[in-house]
Amino acid sequence: MDMGTVWRGRRAKALLIVGGVLVCAVSLASARQQPRHPLQLTGEDWRQLSPKEKEVYLSGFVAGAAAEQVRAVATRAGKAADSGAVSSGAIETLRSHAALHYRFAPSVYAAQLDDYYWWTDRRVVPILDVMITINKAMLQQQFDGNP
């Protein structure tokens, strides 16, 4: 084998290795850029959000929870197909009777989440789990006076 052949071989190998690394890097980058399911967001994600993003996230959370609550109520009443029973009007009825499960303002939840995730070892806990816990505690307080 002459040196030119050897050199071409090593060059090809190097190119292959570099190419492989580049492909991996691109793949990883793509993986990071792929949006994750909201249920997977944790305290680390929460702390990356701007205040506006936090507000939007929580507004969506509260609205979604309200919609699901109304749907569940309608289903239990056998009215799941009734567009009136599953509607913003139905949500407003629950809200006006202080019957929404997630009834507090986004700013309330935001302040609680900010404090909760101040603890470094809590930042792996999914936001959803913390929201459930926070909300349960606040609702419980209204009934028995225990914070």
Partner: protein
């Protein structure tokens, strides 16, 4: 036979008559006065002259100075040992909570509130209930246990703030609702716990909810119809970042990363909109200057300062505004950019120092009494510490930094009292060493908002103190250690006494000059409310709510205890003039 029957009948009738007569002689009817006292209209003049109203306790702090100083001396150091229970009232509420009401007494009628916003009127001579109003609470969330600190009285009405952020005006004679206004949205974290303050034709109240991302404010309403008169926001819309102070006004290093905070300003430019700044304590007021003085609570979020860069004005501050317009006058921020929950919570007190200077004094969670010039807010002095300090303003570590004061202070919401003749302020403190750590214990449901960055140091004793601070020198005059951390309030009287209660149920009287314990009574539940004193028919009474404190775990109850000397006078003493 007929005659026999007649004789028998007659004898029987005679016997029955005799028996009945003898029974009537034995029966005694216990008659108690059933006539309810008539409500006296509380005029502006009465409120301005409240300091000299010997019979009454017309507002939260007795008069506009908030000194909780009674001019009554029938009960004094020589006879307080004979104090006994004159009567006791039990509220019979179904839900107990932190019982912090400071009774208001107007010409024989005592007005009270309970933690879940029942208001009642009670005959101040006998304890007989005259009426009650039960507020139907809507959505509410609250920090630190449900509580309510009392009513305001103006005209023939009394006013109460509620946990669901309503201000209610009640007819003082009947308890019927005059008007009911929603002050703010309780679902956004707003709540009312303080006793309102009546000034002329307005009633003033400040909002709570600093743990929930509110924007705090104090507001004046018309007494007559509940219309808003003015609002002052405790979180300004411009300038809340302040000067990025690296130290407290007295020079204590705050250990801040100013560069990081400034770098974060753009990202958190709107943080002020949910900056916190609730009001826990009833303001003091100077009718001469028309200035209102109050304290502002913690910023929000309570622990995470990274999302609220800057000094976070006017949290943790003493603030002065014009009481007729709500216009800002000055502020003194005790802890810029607080991340330790050492906010200002004990009510301000107006005093006149020996050199004639009008001053505002306040006992901080920081463990110091601040004495400021009432006109300018300039610091006259910061007292000698009334609570110990260790690693003051330290940053948390993974291992835990032991810090004093702990998250409850210093002085918590407890009302102080002042003896103007001695120049002493009587301060209730908590000695609770805590670890300030970055890593939490496993999550405990329901404890997210108790400033849980602090953990009690295992095995270390907690206790309290009643401390007399000489406002003219800043030095401690005397210091009495108590078995438990103190929370509630103090009362000072012209009988040279200081009354206060403890969490284990003791209600105590101390010599105001020396701190010597002169009398103590075990009430059966924590006496964690500010006591008051009033006079009726020449007899002085001391009243205090003994219903415990949820936050500190003191036994809960629902009793209001009222004490007096025995009718014979109980020894030497002066009759009240």
């Amino acid at each position: 036979m007929r005659i026999t029957r007649l004789i028998a009948f007659g004898t029987g009738a005679l016997l029955l008559t005799t028996a009945t007569t003898q029974g009537q002689e034995r029966v005694q009817t216990i008659k108690r006065s059933q006539q309810a006292p008539t409500v006296t209209a509380v005029t502006s003049q009465m409120l301005m002259n409240a300091r000299n109203e010997r019979n009454n306790w017309l507002m939260f702090g007795r008069d506009y100075t908030n000194q909780r100083w009674s001019p009554l001396s029938q009960i004094n150091t020589s006879n307080v040992k004979n104090l006994h229970v004159a009567w006791m009232y039990q509220t019979r509420i179904s839900r107990l909570g932190t019982f912090e009401t400071s009774p208001v007494v107007v010409n024989g009628i005592m007005f009270l509130t309970t933690p879940y916003n029942t208001a009642m009127a009670v005959d101040a001579r006998t304890g007989r209930e005259l009426w009650r109003y039960e507020h139907k609470l809507g959505t509410q969330i609250f920090c630190c246990g449900p509580a309510n600190r009392g009513v305001a009285a103006s005209g023939k009405s009394v006013f109460m703030g509620t946990l669901d952020a309503h201000l209610v005006s009640l007819d003082a004679q009947t308890g019927k609702v005059n008007w009911d206004v929603q002050v703010a949205d309780p679902e956004a974290g707003y709540s009312l716990t303080m006793a309102p303050l009546p000034i002329d034709s307005t009633v003033i109240i400040g909002i709570s909810g600093g743990e929930y991302g509110i924007r705090g404010f104090v507001r004046a309403y018309n007494v007559s119809d509940g219309k808003e008169r003015w609002t002052f926001y405790t979180i300004p819309d411009k300038g809340w970042e302040g000067q990025f102070a690296e130290a407290s006004p007295e020079g204590d290093n705050l250990n801040r990363n100013i560069a990081a905070e400034k770098a974060a300003m753009a990202q958190y430019a709107d943080a002020w909109q949910h900056g916190g700044g609730g009001m826990w304590g009833t303001p003091s007021y100077d009718p001469d200057s028309k200035m209102l003085y109050f304290v502002v609570g913690n910023p929000s979020p309570d622990l995470d300062g990274s999302v609220r860069p800057g000094d976070n004005l006017y949290t943790d501050a003493i603030v002065a505004i014009d009481a007729t317009t709500g216009q800002y006058k000055w502020h003194y921020q005790q802890v810029p950019h607080d991340v330790w929950d050492l906010d200002a919570t004990s009510p301000t007190v107006l005093v006149t120092l020996k050199n004639g200077t009008k001053a505002v004094a306040e006992a901080g969670k920081t463990g110091y009494v601040y004495v400021l010039d009432a006109k300018t807010g300039k610091r006259i002095r910061r007292s000698q510490e009334f609570a110990r300090h260790e690693n003051y303003f330290a940053q948390p570590t993974a291992e835990g930094t032991r810090m004093l004061p702990g998250a409850n202070g210093g002085s918590e919401w407890s009302s102080t009292a002042v003896n103007p003749k001695l120049g002493y302020m009587y301060v209730l403190n908590l000695e609770q060493p805590m670890h300030y750590i970055t890593h939490s214990a496993p999550l405990q449901v329901g404890q997210l908002w108790l400033g849980s960055a602090f953990k009690a140091v295992p095995g270390e004793r907690q206790y309290g103190n009643l401390v007399a601070i000489d406002l003219n020198t800043g030095k401690q005059a005397w210091n009495v250690e108590t078995e438990q951390p103190m929370m509630g309030g103090a009362l000072a009287t012209a009988g040279n006494l200081v009354f206060t209660g403890e969490g284990d149920g003791h209600f105590d009287a101390f010599d105001a000059r020396s701190g010597k314990l002169l009398w103590s009574f075990q009430a059966g539940a924590g006496c964690n409310a500010p006591p008051v004193s009033y006079q009726l028919d020449g007899k002085q009474y001391i009243a205090v709510a003994c219903g415990g404190n949820f936050q500190l775990g003191y036994p809960l109850g629902d009793a209001v205890m009222v004490f007096a000397l025995p009718s014979s006078g109980g020894g030497t003493g002066q009759s009240s003039k």
